[in-house]
């Protein structure tokens, strides 16, 4: 690796652009936040933007990102609830709205009273002691330029704390809206699910314009023992946008983490998901990338079984039309201690055209000897027998193909436990698949 580092050009200029405005950030009243920012700036001194020569980025060329210049967002306080109400999710009575990265209290709806905390970081300094063991501790950023950049700008994070044995019945909606062109924003989320608690979280990236912008998001989720978190992540950014996200999840003993991530937008998107399982922890990590034209969607996941009796299930599906490019790298790590691990991973990819392209890499690293691990990857086009079946029922070739493409996507969308969001995404998938066929 060091040999590669030496031949790489320092990318100071790129980072300088991306750090514009960082020095103007007011100091936080949380000393931990100031310390994290300082550490991030220190790391950024040595870090550069990744290139195709980095193993982790060898399929995803992000050089178009460095060719653009981004500024920090202006305040967007002119937005009113009626402008954005169509993004709301009816089941989610609790909602934090961030416009171009900045918290919009007038558009948010937070619980009042004691107990559950759903707020932006500056509003929860009183909970510093609960936040301190988690913020910046689950997601490593010393060797990750985007995580460091995000941390350098840490100020307005969404914070959810679900106290011990509290079950939130309705989902919490974290809504990130892009409204301005050529701005960089660094959304940040911290979810702390205490022992025996349960919560459903919707992390939702949407846009009100179709020009380029840059989202560099970071999420940390901590599940104490016996907790239950449902995490739905939807990325429906502008097709000109750049979306890079890091998410780290620590699952405590006998806890259960279920996630569905859906990527529809962005010119280039990259989602890194790291899941760490304690003893008897379970996770279901499902994903869908549905893209077309010149889009690129890259998902890197690492499911790390550190302790015995962990269970992981992963279904990742990609559909690429046009000359789109999908990338999936799914690492399953079973450490020596993690006996009796039970892990199943499946990567299924559908290419709709000859120009569409997929790189999929299931990666198993098993150091324990008493485990059950299965994985598989398929890449293909629509099955001609299936198309024939539908045509024999009167559907045209186009209708048959779009129904099958839609079904391929809906199989993942179906797993979203929030009905209205599921239906909305099904509709979007239906529109996209019928336009592609």
């Amino acid at each position: 690796m060091s040999a590669i580092t030496t031949i790489r050009q320092p990318a100071v200029d790129d980072l300088d652009t991306l750090l514009t405005g960082q020095k103007q950030l007011p100091a936080s009243s949380l000393s931990q936040v100031n310390a994290l920012r300082a550490k991030a700036i220190e790391y950024l001194d040595k870090l550069t933007l990744p290139t195709l020569r980095d193993e982790d980025w060898r399929f995803t060329d992000i050089s178009p990102l460095s060719k653009l210049s981004f500024s920090t967002a202006r305040s967007a306080s002119y937005l009113e609830a009626t402008d954005i109400a169509h993004f709301y999710i009816e089941e989610a009575t609790t909602r934090l709205v961030f416009i171009d990265g900045g918290y919009a209290p007038q558009l948010s709806s937070v619980p009042t009273g004691e107990g559950v905390v759903v707020a932006n970081l500056p509003a929860v300094t009183v909970h510093a002691a609960e936040i301190e063991p988690h913020l910046g501790r689950h997601a490593a950023f010393s060797d990750n330029v985007f995580a460091s950049l995000n941390t350098a700008f840490l100020h307005d994070a969404a914070v959810i704390i679900v106290p011990r044995d509290v079950a939130l019945v309705t989902p919490v909606h974290l809504l990130f809206i892009a409204t301005q062109t050529a701005v960089a924003s660094t959304p940040r989320c911290l979810i702390i699910a205490e022992s025996g608690s349960s919560v459903t979280l919707i992390e939702d990236y949407v846009t009100m314009q179709e020009e380029p912008y840059f989202i560099n998001a970071m999420t940390e989720i901590s599940l104490a023992d016996n907790a239950h978190v449902n995490h739905i992540r939807v990325q429906r950014d502008s097709v000109q946008a750049f979306h890079i996200a890091n998410c780290a999840v620590s699952i405590g003993r006998s806890s259960n983490y279920q996630s569905v991530s859906v990527a529809l937008g962005a010119q280039i998107s990259r989602y890194n998901l790291d899941v760490l399982l304690a003893e008897g922890a379970e996770c279901v990590v499902d994903g869908l990338a549905l893209i077309e034209a010149n889009q690129l969607a890259d998902t890197h996941t690492c499911i790390d079984h550190a302790k015995p009796y962990g269970v992981s299930r992963q279904l990742h599906k990609c559909i690429a039309g046009g000359s789109a490019h999908v990338v999936f790298n799914g690492k399953i790590m079973v450490r020596q201690d993690a006996q009796r691990t039970d892990s199943v991973q499946s990567s299924r990819n559908l290419l709709l055209t000859n120009k569409a392209h997929v790189d999929t890499k299931p990666q198993l690293e098993i150091f324990a000897d008493d485990v059950k691990c299965a994985h598989g990857a398929t890449v293909g086009q629509l099955d001609s027998e299936e198309v024939f079946y539908l045509k024999s029922r009167g559907l045209s070739d186009t209708a048959a193909r779009s129904l099958l493409t839609y079904a391929f996507a809906a199989d993942v969308i179906d797993r979203i436990p929030v009905a209205s969001l599921k239906h909305r995404l099904e509709k979007m998938a239906l529109e996209q698949t019928s336009s592609q066929s």
Binding site: Y389, S392, G394, A407
Partner: protein, 269 residues
């Protein structure tokens, strides 16, 4: 049932078809009139399923000669979906599963597609729900069929019932049932047969492709055809099926070969 003044639904003459250069159907002749129920029987590999798929327009089979007229129209001029819209229905031996699509959604889509083509009224989800539930009652199908994904996790019998339900919805003039009875237990077989019998009428022709005489205890055919090596070598009444059950197929082939020798000897004179 055989009716007087019935019209010809399907007329196949000298049909030859091959897959990957191997000839499967050889000079096949077959005629079905409205109201009739035909059973096509024969050993494995005799070309029964190929014939069924050729009728539905499967692209894997190349037609090398012969003709098929469906209600007087050249079937080869029609794409598979056009055949379906014109009234040809094939119940698949192995129906496909479509995870992600609810059966109700799929059934309404196909129903409305066919209705629109026939210039009839399409149904909205509520109207369709009432309509399909009536049909399901007829076929003793449990209502949860509608909410489940198309054939996903269905047992063999459930898949076949779903095929017959589609047949009931699409109201075809020619229904071809490709081994619909294979792998069914006796209850499922009874229910499916009752369904088919209820759907049979004087305007439709039904072609049953089957291995087993057992099905014909429930659906009584007007004609039983024996297929071997790609053509129909014997046609008889329902009693022929019973005879096949006790004697097997070999005697039919032997008889056919003896006859063709006589025929060619006769022609040589």
């Amino acid at each position: 049932m055989i009716y007087q003044n019935s019209k010809v639904i399907l007329e196949v003459r000298g049909l030859c078809a091959s897959v990957n250069g191997i000839e499967i159907l050889k000079d096949l002749d077959f005629t079905a009139k409205s109201g009739e129920v035909h059973a096509i029987m024969g050993p494995n590999g005799s070309g029964k399923s190929t014939f069924a798929k050729v009728l539905a327009g499967h692209s894997a089979y190349e037609i090398t000669s012969g003709s098929i007229l469906f209600e007087g129209k050249n079937l080869f001029d029609l794409a598979p979906e056009e055949r379906a819209l014109a009234g040809v229905f094939l119940a698949f031996q192995y129906p496909i599963e479509i995870p992600g699509v609810a059966n109700s959604q799929f059934l309404r889509l196909t129903y409305n597609t066919v209705q629109a083509q026939r210039g009839k009224e399409e149904l909205d989800p509520l109207e369709f729900d009432d309509f399909v539930r009536e049909k399901m009652k007829l076929l003793e199908i449990s209502p949860d069929f509608l909410d489940r994904n198309v054939n996903e996790g269905f047992s063999g019998g459930e898949k076949k019932r779903n095929e017959i339900l589609q047949m009931a919805l699409l109201d075809p003039h020619l229904a071809i049932l490709d081994e619909t009875d294979s792998g069914l237990d006796i209850d499922a077989l009874r229910i499916i047969s009752q369904g088919v019998n209820k759907l049979a009428n004087k305007d439709h022709a039904i072609v049953l492709v089957t291995h087993y005489q057992r099905l014909l205890n429930y659906i009584v055919p007007d004609f039983v055809h024996v297929m071997d090596a790609g053509c129909i070598i014997k046609t008889g009444s329902k009693d022929l099926a019973l005879e096949l059950e006790t004697r097997g197929y070999d005697w039919v082939s032997a008889e056919y070969q003896a006859n063709s020798k006589t025929r060619s000897a006769g022609m040589g004179v």
